[in-house]
């Protein structure tokens, strides 16, 4: 067991150092990168960046407005471009502070960043990427900062060396290969600690020191409590797995507007093909049922688990536990299931019953006629229909097959979307 706890502590420290002891300038862009996760649901930047819900942001500093050819900008943004807007740092700062104030009619649903320092940081981060998505050559200051003994942006390098120095002696002789454990969400804030800088030597550390599994084939090694805690984030309907915490409808609304509304709509109504979260109660027998959290989902635990696990899309596990409680509370409010002063917590969570909790039954397909024991014996082989077959429906009428429809890519085509 001996090597693992030590490695864990070292790796955790490394993460702490990266956050607390950077030089001012390097901190800007690094912090901006963290803040950018809030934007990453819609925007990308870097070598593989592509326009998604929003345009890609490569070379955005000094880029003319509405400059990405294949992106469908709002009329407001196009007008700004016609008026000659080029995104200087000042323009970006104004836009990020109050998007709809700067560009009337913008489609960007983001409410804006309040802190000037955050705005400066995110612009510093975006300014690292040129028009082709490659990182620009470092400025003299950044190079100097990286060469500092107690560095900022480059902080991970020496910190990783600390880990190496700590644990190497025990493992030199090992030939087995297994990386040391990564600590995910070590501080509960969803920020994973990057241990990628470790060398192969470090990887050999873990396995050599690992005790055998104790199972019949003696393979694998014991999972450490901290490792299980890092990955075991699932929540069950009976409340197992719920963390201690709480959040209010009002707190949830602010987070939702900032991180969720661009896809799910300000009231959970869903934008385009993005999922609708609210409404639809009483429609499950309709010709076109509206399946939402309020109308269909049987358990509230599923909402907490999924939001915490996989949302916002493109920035998974960036939400803290209290933030998740707040969002779940707000989604309940959007579905008229709680009042606007409601606070959800691990204390009252399992007391909330969803409207469609009784709307499910076990799989009973085997009772259908085609699956009963004599179905095969009764299969007809000749003269099974009285009259010749006549066409009752044809795909050609809808013509939604890719490559054949004239308006390729029209998202309003077709029925029966998969999500």
């Amino acid at each position: 067991m001996s090597r693992f706890p030590k490695s864990l502590i070292a790796v955790s420290l490394m993460g702490g150092m990266g956050l607390t002891a950077p030089s001012a300038l390097a901190q800007d862009a690094a912090n901006g990168e963290t803040i950018f996760k809030r934007c990453a649901g819609c925007h990308t930047v870097g070598p593989n960046a592509q326009s998604r819900v929003g345009p890609h942001l490569n070379g955005i500093v000094e880029r003319p407005a509405a400059a990405i050819e294949d992106f469908r900008y709002s009329r407001g943004m196009k007008k700004a471009a016609d008026d000659g807007l080029v995104w200087t740092r000042d323009d970006l700062a104004e836009y990020l502070a109050a998007p709809r104030k700067k560009i009337k009619g913008t489609r960007m649903a983001f409410a804006g960043l309040r802190k000037e320092s955050e705005i400066a940081d995110i612009i510093a981060y975006l300014d690292r990427f040129g028009p082709d998505g490659a990182e620009k050559t470092s400025t003299a200051e950044e190079i100097a900062a990286a060469n500092e003994p107690n560095p900022g942006m480059a902080g991970k390098e020496p910190a990783a060396n600390d880990v190496k120095g700590d644990s190497k002696p025990a493992t030199e002789s090992s030939s087995a290969v297994a990386p040391a454990p990564k600590v995910e969400e070590a501080d509960g804030a969803g920020e994973s600690v990057d241990a990628a800088a470790e060398t192969d030597d470090d990887r050999q550390v873990a396995l050599a020191a690992a005790p055998p599994s104790g199972g019949p084939m003696n393979l694998g090694r014991p999972a450490l409590p901290a490792e299980i805690a890092a990955w075991d984030i699932d929540v069950r309907p009976d409340g197992k797995g719920l963390p201690i915490g709480s959040g209010t409808v009002a707190e949830g609304e602010a987070i939702f507007d900032e991180k969720c509304a661009s896809c799910h709509g300000a009231f959970g109504e869903g934008a385009g093909r993005w999922p609708m979260l609210a409404g639809g109660q009483g429609t499950l027998k309709d010709e076109r049922p509206v399946k939402t959290i309020g109308s269909y989902w049987p358990y509230l635990s599923t909402v907490y688990d999924y939001v915490h696990r996989a949302m916002p899309f493109g920035s998974s596990r960036s939400l803290g536990e209290d933030e998740t409680y707040a969002l779940v509370a707000y989604i309940l409010y959007l579905n008229d299931l709680v009042d606007d002063d409601f606070e959800l917590s691990n204390e009252n969570f399992t007391g909330i019953e969803m409207p469609n909790a009784d709307g499910f039954k076990p799989d009973d397909r085997q009772s259908e006629p085609q699956n009963t024991s004599d179905a095969a014996a009764e299969v007809c082989m000749t003269d099974c229909k009285e009259s010749p077959a006549e066409i009752t429906m044809r795909a050609r009428v809808l013509d939604v097959t890719p490559d054949t429809a004239d308006d390729d890519g029209d998202e309003n085509l077709g029925a029966g979307a998969i999500d």
């Binding site: 290969v177 019949p216 393979l219 694998g220 959290i293 899309f313 795909a395 490559d403």
Partner: protein, 426 residues
């Protein structure tokens, strides 16, 4: 096709033209077929062709081999209007272009919920915890020291044919039935891993979790886990493709594809189901009375004719022809497949090839086409006696809003000119 050598570049449009074609284009196809009896000698035979005169590329020109340039039309395709973002979307296996039973690795349909995770196998971990005696962590190297097995299984998305519940909608078996593939897997029986950790008697369910950006999760009952599930690291003899879960995925034979967790990183044992998003809000089957079935894991008996089909029309004119397709059942083996060319009035038993329990079977029906219109159907029956139902029967049982588990009989209408369309018949 005399001019095929010159036609390589426009190959991509060929299918589109077929799909769009009226009588004119297909009539042209018939004329070419008639050219087999031409009086003039075929210059492809009488003249020396370049590829018989000049040397071709040497070995190692393509260290990892690729299909012929003339097969560039055989690719996975998506339906853009289905989903909001390609990173949480699906594409479809080109069944119309394949034969045999094994799906080529690069043509297996993709379904991702958070894009394709890129994982260095040296960085991958599989954890087992929960109701076990010894919570364990395995590396890929550890897993490869367990006894392994090889099996061929189909994987079908529960939503395969889901767009056809309300009626014929998509013209091509790639789109109506292409959320399926059939592969040989090499991996470790999951029960070995659980025995290594020591399962506590209270454990009744297992939660499997993937290491992608969606951290996909599904609950699986213990009987299935101890029966035939695998942790696979090879498909068709080589490492899993990234889009199929590299370096390891769960194999849950005969059960809906969503449960075959890709990029598998965690197995938790517990005493009840976790009721995750993909087993409550999704992958539950809403019935006409407003109640939904849940835990509908098994994929029912099903088949589809892959040729002829809308993307592979009958271009040769009347005379000898081959009808072929695939059949499968999550309950086990296929007992027989019947084929009808008159829309289900009369049936004849097809010839089966290949196949295995919970693996895909190939069927053939060889016949002389008289040139009249055809209504092609196939009907599979599995070893348990489950019969593939008509779509009308399924709708009568379930309504039109189930999305999942549509195993109804597919009808292709072949016109006299050979053009083939997705229809439903009386």
């Amino acid at each position: 096709m005399v001019d095929s050598a010159d036609d390589g570049g426009s190959k991509g449009n060929a299918r589109r033209q077929f799909l769009k074609a009226g009588l004119g284009a297909a009539g042209g196809a018939l004329a070419v077929a008639g050219g087999a009896r031409a009086a003039e000698p075929d210059p492809l035979i009488t003249e020396v062709q370049d590829w018989t005169r000049y040397l071709g590329k040497g070995v190692d020109a393509t260290p990892y081999g690729l299909p012929s340039q003339y097969e560039s039309d055989v690719v996975r395709r998506s339906v853009p209007w289905l989903t909001a973002d390609a990173k949480s979307s699906v594409n479809f296996t080109p069944l119309y272009a394949l034969d045999g039973t094994i799906t080529p690795s690069g043509l297996c349909f993709e379904r991702h919920h958070g894009g394709v995770a890129v994982i260095d196998p040296a960085d991958h971990r599989l954890m087992i915890h929960g109701m076990v005696e010894r919570p364990l962590v395995f590396t890929l190297d550890d897993l490869k020291r367990f006894p392994r097995e090889n099996h061929v299984y189909f994987l079908e998305c529960a939503a395969n044919s889901g767009m056809e519940w309300r009626g014929a909608q998509l013209n091509g078996c790639q789109f109506t039935h292409g959320m399926i593939h059939n592969l040989e897997y090499c991996g470790v029986p999951l029960r070995y891993l659980l025995e290594e950790a020591g399962v506590k008697p209270q454990a009744k369910w297992l939660l499997a979790e993937g290491g992608d950006a969606s951290l996909m999760t599904r609950s699986i009952p213990m009987e299935k886990i101890m029966d035939d599930c695998l942790v696979a690291f090879k498909m068709n003899g080589e490492a899993l493709r990234p889009e199929q879960g590299y370096p390891i995925r769960l194999v849950v034979p005969g059960w809906e594809g969503n449960m075959w967790i890709k990029w598998l990183r965690r197995l938790e044992l517990g005493d009840r189901s976790w009721e995750q998003r993909e087993e409550t809000s999704k992958y539950t089957d809403l019935l006409a009375d407003g109640v939904a079935r849940r835990h509908t894991f098994v994929m029912d008996v099903k088949s589809v004719i892959t040729n002829p089909s809308p993307q592979a029309p009958l271009t040769h004119g009347k005379g000898r022809t081959v009808l072929t397709g695939l059949a499968w059942s999550g309950h086990g083996r296929i007992a027989k497949v019947d084929v009808s060319i008159d829309g289900g009035r009369n049936w004849s038993e097809a010839r089966l090839e290949g196949g295995s329990s919970k693996g895909a079977y190939r069927f053939y029906h060889d016949f002389d086409w008289d040139g009249a219109e055809l209504f092609l159907q196939s009907r599979a029956i599995d070893e348990d006696g489950n019969v593939q139902p008509t779509k009308d029967r399924l709708r009568a049982e379930r309504g039109e809003n189930s999305i999942y588990h549509n195993n109804g009989i597919q009808t292709w209408h072949v016109r006299a000119d050979g053009v083939t369309e997705n229809v439903e018949v009386s």
